[in-house]
């Protein structure tokens, strides 16, 4: 329940949800002005679900079955709101933001494990 675990969760869910959003034609077009090629959409979808599941696993491993799921759903909600806001107001920022979130999550991981 430390802020660092929540930060890890937020970063992972944000990256995952951003990938899922970009795997959809409409949002891919918002961000890149083109449809997503099929194989790219597929890999985005896998990455997205993977990051979300990883976030669930991390929150349960670090915060247990009591708080883990609560923490995970809370982080998903916050991250999803951020994705929607970016897509609506600054769609071009979504990809760089998601790419920045992943290393942030990796960076937070050792601290989260230690705390």
């Amino acid at each position: 329940m430390t802020p660092i675990v929540l930060a890890l969760n937020l970063a992972l869910s944000f990256a995952g949800l951003a990938a899922l959003a970009l795997s959809l034609d409409r949002h891919h077009r918002d961000a890149f002005l083109t449809r997503a090629p099929t194989n790219r959409a597929r890999s985005l979808r896998w990455t997205g679900w993977g990051a979300i599941l990883l976030s669930l696993a991390a929150s349960i491993a670090l915060d247990g079955w009591n708080f883990g799921p609560v923490q995970w759903i809370g982080a998903l909600t916050g991250a999803a709101l951020l994705v929607v806001a970016l897509l609506s107001y600054r769609p071009g920022w979504l990809r760089p933001a998601a790419l920045a979130a992943l290393p942030l999550a990796l960076l937070a991981l050792p601290f989260a494990l230690r705390g």
Binding site: M1, T2, P3, L6, A7, L17, L20, A21, L24, R26, H27, R29, L33, N66, F67, V70, Q71, I73, G74, A75, T77, G78, A80, L81, V83, V84, A85, L87, S88, P91
Partner: protein, 535 residues
């Protein structure tokens, strides 16, 4: 007359949402503010310096001295011990279960009534969110019924807005007014859907023994306290002996209790304090965990001997108290609490956008006169959605601007809250619709922005003076003010709306086909103003 399943769900969602939406918006906003109830109370009593170390045993004795003089024949005393974030002794006592609860705040150092300004603080918002400032039973029933209808609206809404998962990330602000409101309603509804379902359900569970008391009545022959004892929620309280008796000093009992439980001691309850069979109950803060379970130890009021304590509970109690715990989120640290707060705001936004969507979807055509029901809903929307923030800001401002020693101050603050709210509701009825939105949102924004300034001027406590106590609260007020200013600005840009196309007036919002963008890339920003004007 045959209707499809989704159409009947759409009807249910539309009308169930409209009927309870105004009440639920207020419940969501004040309930969400309750996540910061302690901080609000702290801000509203600036005279108190948090953090002073106070011995709870001595505080309990000071409280008992005060109550022995004030209410020796009461049926119960409930003593809130001072905590680091709330350096006050808070007393409640009741003569019997019918007459109203009495209340007092004492200075924990002297035991005399506190010099801090008289206010209900954050407790007013907390109580309002499930009692609406009505007699408790009435308010709780109304909020409970609204919460039950909210569950109906949530489930029927998932069926009605079937595209919510396909449109999970979609917020098309500039397609048309109706499209924008529909997307806003869907996004705020679906992204925080787990929260919405949880908060509605757990809110009902919290007061379930009140809404459906018959199980307890049947199983315990109407002896409801027995149920709470057997469920492990409270220790046994003895019936009064009917003859007077002396009460032991509380300090040794407090020390004994604190030695047994590691959580901070929050309350000491004394039942039948003037009776030979008085019972003293020490009530601790919840243990770490989801469940809302306060460890409790009961003592004999005449001898100080221990009578019993709550222990481990069985799964049913554990689950129901975990529901309550989830609703209150006392377990959440600052970051998680901020997310709960955000989810609560999204709930309020989903309700508000749903209310606006109702009226936008029923805009009269160019040659029609708007009907009475339509105008009433729009006026009530302004009154409920824009009026409440004005009321809240007025409540906080009144706390700073009313003279500190004014008699009946706490009640006047509450009256100002309702007065300001009612004023905006009236303006919603009298002013042209869009102007009413812009003016009341703008007023709310100005009032919220004024709060940190007025607070600094009247208390002399501000960050530039090295006083950082209220930095968080001030920042929250500024953020709220800016958000409302943005809302007022957007309302000011909207054009008076008429439905241009020959849309079917019976069409439900969710049934409008989603326009797919044409093959050409949109020139987003350049196209915005025109798109908005044509909408």
């Amino acid at each position: 007359m045959r209707q499809g399943f989704r159409q009947s769900m759409a009807w249910l969602h539309t009308w169930s949402g409209l009927v309870v939406g105004w009440v639920l918006f207020a419940v969501f906003v004040t309930g969400t503010a309750t996540y910061y109830r302690a901080e609000i109370s702290e801000w509203m009593r600036p005279e108190l310096q948090a953090g002073a170390s106070i011995e709870s045993g001595r505080a309990a004795d000071l409280a008992a001295d005060y109550l022995k003089a004030k209410a020796p024949d009461a049926q119960g005393w409930f003593i809130g011990l001072p905590q680091p974030e709330k350096p006050l002794i808070e007393l409640h006592w009741w003569k019997d279960l019918v007459s109203p609860m009495q209340h007092a705040l004492l200075d924990p150092r002297t035991g005399a009534p506190t010099q801090a300004r008289d206010t209900q603080g954050g407790d007013f918002l907390y109580r309002f969110h499930f009692e609406l400032n009505m007699p408790p039973l009435w308010g709780r029933w109304i909020v409970g019924i609204c919460a039950m209808i909210l569950l109906v609206a949530l489930v029927s809404g998932i069926i009605t807005h079937r595209r919510i998962f396909a449109d999970f990330f979609t917020f098309r602000r500039h397609k048309s007014a109706q499209r924008g409101w529909l997307d806003a309603h869907n996004v705020t509804g679906v992204l925080a859907l787990p929260f919405h379902l949880m908060i509605a359900y757990t809110g009902i569970v919290t007061l379930a023994p009140m809404y459906v008391p018959w199980g307890i009545t049947a199983a315990f022959d109407g002896d409801a306290p027995r149920f709470f004892v057997e469920a492990g929620l409270s220790p046994e309280v003895r019936a009064p002996a009917g003859k007077p008796g002396g009460l032991v000093s509380l300090a040794p009992l407090v020390a004994a209790a604190e030695a047994r439980v590691s959580e901070p001691l929050e309350h000491v309850a004394v039942y039948n304090p003037g009776d030979a069979a008085a019972t003293i109950v020490a009530i601790f803060e919840e243990r770490k965990g989801l469940a809302h379970l306060h460890p409790q130890i009961a003592f004999d009021g005449a001898t100080g001997a221990e009578l019993g304590a709550t222990g481990a509970v069985r799964p049913a109690t554990h689950i129901s108290t975990a529901f309550v715990g989830l609703h209150e989120a006392h377990f959440a640290g600052p970051a998680l609490r901020a997310l709960f707060f955000l989810c609560g705001l999204m709930g309020a936004a989903a309700i508000a956008s749903g209310l606006v969507l109702w009226s936008v979807a029923r805009l009269p055509k160019a040659d029609e006169r708007p009907g009475f029901g339509f105008r009433l809903v729009r006026a009530l929307n302004v009154g409920a959605v824009a009026g409440l923030p004005v009321g809240l800001a007025a409540y906080f401002l009144a706390n700073r601007l009313l003279p500190v020693g004014l008699a009946g101050r706490a009640d006047i603050e509450v009256r100002i809250f309702f007065g300001a709210w009612a004023m905006i509701a009236l303006a919603g009825l009298l002013r042209p619709h869009l102007r009413a939105w812009r003016e009341s949102l703008g007023l709310a924004s100005l009032l919220f922005l004024a709060i940190p300034v007025v607070s600094a001027l009247t208390t002399g406590a501000h960050p530039f003076d090295g006083e950082a106590r209220f930095l968080g609260f001030d920042a929250a007020m500024l953020a709220t003010g800016l958000l409302l200013a943005f809302a007022a600005y957007e309302a000011g840009r909207a054009r008076p709306q008429r439905r241009a196309v020959q849309a079917d007036p019976a069409a439900e919002p969710a049934r409008i086909p989603a326009p797919r963008p044409a093959g050409t890339p949109q020139k987003r920003n350049a196209a915005l103003p025109q798109a908005r004007r044509s909408a």
